[in-house]
Amino acid sequence: METSWLLPLTVFLPWAGALVVLAAGRAARLRIVLAIAFAAADAVLSLLLIPLASSRTGFSVTLGGAFGELSLLPDGFGVFLAAVAAVIGGLAVVFSVDYMRGEEGQGRYYALVLFFIGAMVGLVLSANLLMVVVFWEITALCSWLLISFHNDDPKAVAGGIKALIITGLGGVGLLAGSLAIYAQSGTFDIPTFMAQAHGFPPQLLAWIGFGFLAAAAAKSAQFPFQTWLPDAMEAPTPISALIHAATMVNAGVYLLARFYPAFSSVPGWTLAVVLVGAVSAFIAGLMAVVANDLKRALAWSTVSQLGFMVYAIGAGGIFQSQFHLLSHSVFKALLFLGAGAVIHTVGTRDMRQMGGLSKKMPLTCVVFVIGALALAGIPPVNGFWSKELLLEGGLQSGPFWAYVVMLVTAGLTALYALRCVWMVFFAPPQESHEAPGAHPVHDAGPAMKVALIPLALGSLATWLLAGPFHALLARTLPFHFGPGEVGPGASGTWQMVVEVVSAPSTWLALAVVAVGILAWVGRGVFAKMGAGLRPARRAAEAGFGFEAINRGIANAVQGAGEGLRATQTGVLNWNIAAIVMAVIAVLAALALGG
């Protein structure tokens, strides 16, 4: 194996950048220039990694007996997700220049963003499970610190802590699974585990598989852990884009896709993955339809689209899930940054107080509409191709009921995408932001445009990469793709186009999308006959009771803590007595056991 220094450089350059930005101190201009320079350099490095995927290069350093090796491996997943994290993260940094202008604590902000990008790149490139766990928890830490960036706002602090607790809880599954793998095989090396997985005791493999599924569901905000993502919307909007498109939530989908070949033989595992994906996609779609907060609607749509990817993995469509992840990253970053431009100038996130912005923010309107078309899956934008491929794969190899659920969700997606665009840009304008003395509404600033335009072009064009992308994955992932499945390279895109256009499921899906659009156009009719739907609407607005479950658990923990408080007297002598008694108990147990 050849050693490539490009790999560790891509991981640790943003971290070096974070330190440099912090060291820049009070020089605001210098700080921004440094942050952009490091983010851009890392984006370039991550793109340079892509050719490495085909060669037999890698990088490893021995960290001592207990930790194994810090080994980085550029295979298809790794270079692809590293590029997504670094490039989209870089665009979010550029966007922040306008968005965060005049805010306090910018040094902390840019340093954490760079730290976050580096952690995500490290997570996807690591070939050592223990390092995956470490990077996994670092991304959780960064998301907590950035969601709570406005740390004088109680809602932001609560949202950040919620994200930290829920993703940390899921992380236990990953840690336990990794330790079980180490106990069984004596190594944390992922390729070794993939090769040996079928020799593991089935019971143990099932525990590991479901532990990883819990970790992935918590990280990607899937059922039943979906509640943290909407509350994370208290973060500055570029951070939302970063979490939703570049760094955080992709990690769960990556984990499932990476280990799919190892766990696909575990009874019930693929079904559980399909179930998690389908339920998340559907209920999140419903909640997106009733949300009035622009960012919350987008957050639910992320949960829903991630549900599509998880469903695809459960149905065996590794390529489809990753291709949809690529499309989703681009158009969701576009939607969030577009929403950021709107929120920045209007000063509210409530869509009912927006409306009529298409004339005042023409560029933002155009790019947001492109993003919404991709979200809804309308041709020829990238979301259409990846979603059709995904649904077709699901129809062929997944359970039929799940396909029906996903089809309905595709219709819901079109409905809420259209609803967002209408309420923000085309509804009758509201008086509040035209009142004298109010901040004048203006279009996106120059730095915002630099971030928005490439993403809009990307939403129009990334589907052209389908052929090369499939070839890249098929060539470099021997456990996922058999030797006969190596894609034909660039010509594969044309094949995909023919395949998608000629498949009947595509037309079915488009018909469902059209129904979704008609449902919005004819919403007046629905509103009259919709009295029967009111309980469903109320349930969706209440988040289907998952908030209540969260609160119940939090209260139970708090109550237990209050109850156990009596044991903490604060008198040193009692503590010593307890220690002595514990030692005596241990000695007695040893004596009896021996």
Binding site: Q568, T569, G570, V571, L572, N573, I576, A577, V580
Partner: protein
Amino acid sequence: MTGSVWTIAIAAVLCLVAIGIYGLLILRNLIKIVVALQVFAKGTILIMVVAGGMAGKPAIGQSLAITVLVADTAITIVALALAIQVRRWCGTLDTRVISTLRR
């Protein structure tokens, strides 16, 4: 060395540890607690030397004992410095008075 020497040494260790624990259990003055902790710690250091000698590897026991002594000294200094601060801010060294967890 004969076996009786080891017996005496172990008895001494047990005495030191017992005195230390007894002190920690009944004393309420922070300075006295630090002293009791020191007695206890000296007992454990002595057992390292004794155990090394009994196992026929005195060098390991002695080097461990030296290491613990160094760490122990640093901890004692910090504990006494904290006790001084407690006296300055609370006006007392009584652990029952300065405990605020119950209130």
